[in-house]
């Protein structure tokens, strides 16, 4: 693959590779899959997982004889630090390859701006990145983006599910809270901030008192003590941190436990990242987080366990979110290709992807034609609430998928 890429740089090599492609075509067709992933820079770990997930699926499919006369091949475009120019460079490099008629990613840029580039070329594009950004781009004119689909469901549930879940725990007696006060904190990025503001509204509507709703600058945060000092004074029974960086979350837990209050602690997203557990070890026990579009790893969804096991078997470590996501993305494309039969008919492929309805690792996938996001809900992609206990993530909501009951965190006893 890389030899062929290098061929671009010399005419002779170009000719040679053209010849070899022609020769290969006589036997079987190749459908190349462009994967946009940060292979270098701070997010390289995510990028590697994305590529691993895609390769896993591709090898399986190829081993099974391919799809509709096509064998698959993964071509990686490095988005580096997700800056606009490097993402565009990666996109253009992939788009320039005429055998690439689909692209996918966990996330490529901070803003998902590349969706527009995809739409211009009618490039089928499957993305698992921030659904709010994706929706903002697509929802005003969904017909302009016939080939772009997000397997991340709408993030609305992050804002709406929390209050009912807590209420349910209270009603069921699994949780006792001394008051109806909540302290919120977020860092200044659209994802965390939107969720915090949504939560604030939902809590207030449900008659809770929001004792604080602080905003911190986005990035590495080493000192949560100013916020925690306020918390100790107001003594809210729920503390919610919507910043999503695992390092920050680990620091947050450490500093919270220096002088804990009897409060339920919820942290957005970060606890799902493997290194959060490595960093916090037993200090994480009792923390609650939730997940939309993550792996729904429960006996009720055997697909998830299957994907996770395969990944582990091949790469030796458990995947986070992006390995299974890309694995599933490849299969979405494979299904669509099987239906259409021609990898170059991009619009048809895009349409076929949009019509998907299947069980995937994250739940049941179907797309909302208005936003091109995966549909969210208990019978679609559910929001999952987890509690960390002794280094394990226990799913306790929704009840039908639950692996364990919610327990009162150790510091509240």
């Amino acid at each position: 693959m890389n030899m062929r890429k290098m061929g671009k740089w010399g005419l002779a090599l170009l000719a040679a590779s053209a010849l070899s492609v022609a020769f290969a075509n006589a036997q079987e067709k190749v459908a190349k899959i462009g994967v946009l992933a940060p292979m270098t820079g701070g997010a390289a770990a995510d990028g590697n997982e994305m590529v691993n997930g895609a390769r896993l699926a591709v090898e399986e499919i190829n081993a099974a004889g391919g799809i509709a006369g096509y064998t698959f091949e993964v071509v990686v475009g490095d988005t580096q630090d997700q800056a606009a120019d490097t993402v565009t460079s990666a996109f253009e490099r992939l788009a320039g390859d005429r055998d690439i008629n689909v692209m996918m990613t966990g996330y490529a840029s901070g803003s998902n701006f590349e969706i527009e580039l995809m739409a211009e070329q009618e490039m089928p594009y499957i993305i698992s990145a921030n659904a709010a950004q994706t929706r903002d781009i697509i929802a005003p004119n969904p017909d302009d983006f016939p080939t772009v689909w997000s397997i991340s469901p709408s993030y609305d549930a992050y804002e709406t599910a929390m209050v009912p879940v807590i209420q349910q725990l209270l009603d069921g007696g699994a949780l006792e809270l001394p008051n109806k006060k909540v302290a919120l904190i977020s860092s200044d990025n659209p994802y965390s901030k939107t969720i915090m503001e949504g939560l604030q509204k939902n809590f207030e509507d449900a008659g809770w008192e929001v004792t604080s709703a602080d905003l911190l600058p986005f990035g590495e945060i080493n000192d949560w003590r100013a916020f925690l000092a306020g918390v100790r004074q107001a003594a809210p029974s729920v503390i919610i941190n919507t910043d999503y960086l695992p390092g920050n979350a680990a620091t947050f837990m450490t500093q919270f436990l220096e002088q804990p209050t009897k409060s339920l602690v919820f942290i957005q997203y970060a606890p799902s990242v493997p290194e959060f557990l490595e960093l916090t070890k037993d200090r994480a026990t009792g923390v609650v987080y939730n997940m939309l579009g993550g792996v729904l790893d429960t006996p009720q969804n055997p697909r998830a366990a299957e994907v996770v096991e395969k990944y582990k078997a091949k790469y030796g470590s458990a995947p986070g979110v992006y390995g299974p996501a890309l694995y599933e993305q490849v299969y979405l494309y494979a299904d669509a290709l099987a239906k259409v039969g021609d990898s170059t008919d991009r619009l048809a492929i895009g349409k076929a992807i949009g019509e998907t309805e299947k069980q995937i690792a994250a739940g049941v996938l179907r797309f909302d034609p208005q936003t091109h996001l995966a549909v969210q809900g208990e019978d679609a992609i559910p929001i999952q609430f987890f509690q960390i206990w002794d280094g394990k993530r226990e799913l306790f909501y929704p009840a039908r998928y639950a692996t364990e009951e919610f327990q009162t965190p150790p510091w509240m006893k």
Binding site: M6, T40, A83, D85, S109, S111, F113, P190
Partner: protein
Amino acid sequence: MPASFNLKTLAIAAVLILGLLVPVVIEDTYIRHLFIIAFIYAIVAASWDLSLGYAGVFNFGHVAFFGVGVYTTALCAKLLGIDPWIAMLLGGAAASAAAAIVALPVVRLQGIYVVLVTFAFSQLVLQFVISQSQITGGTQGLVRVPTIELFGYNFLRDYKFGYYYVAFALLVISTLCLRYITRTDFGLSIRALRDNEDYSLARGIPIGLQRLKVLMASAFFAGIAGGFFAIYLRVASPEVFNFSTMALILSMVLVGGTSSIYGPVIAALVLTFISEGLANVNGLSEGRFMLVAVAMVLVLLFFPKGLISIIDRWPRGRGARRPD
């Protein structure tokens, strides 16, 4: 003089024609895109050379000026609905204005302090951009920036044919302007200032004013380049302030050769293509930055006047370093 002048004119004409022919010969959108990016970086690097190389102002906030251009243009075009062409000019103007602010402390300071203050300034701009997330989109940036149009020509679906020429034209114009500036009396005075501050004062050259002017001029081109960057990619995101962006462009100035304008332009092209080429070689995707770093040191060690000194031998530029 006349012989070398003719040769030079010939070489420049050849380069111009080659540049004009590139998109005709190369149909690959990816290669065209790399050229466009290289051209943008070339403008930033060459304009940096004006303040860093010619005027000797240790300005480490140049990439921030570029970023100011990116955001001003994006905001003007998107939120205020200003025509993107004009927004690009406004980007340049805003960068100049930012430079004027930096100049306030910088004209009074020397050496390492200038490095540190300009560096601190760029951090301040970044913080400002991120903090105003209601307007700038904060860390996620600003998407769907409107793009340019010329007599109804649509730049979006021509495989970057039009963008290439716009970028090329911007590069040619800014290079000409920069070369012109260095040859004016003003250009002479800033080189004089770099050589010897006290002596410049003794010859009636106002240090503060010239520094202010040179910072504003060099920021203007960086701002325009930033404006085009935003228009071309249709996104403004805070990564433009990244340290790696600064390091990359700085290495272009150095490797190319300070006080030459052409040097950084050539280096921008070479480094963009080499670094992109290495990015696609297995195992070098991360290591290429290390290679660029090593190259930077090697060039400083063995070609202190930059790679341009291999090509051009006429006595100019940082040359004539006195043996003291």
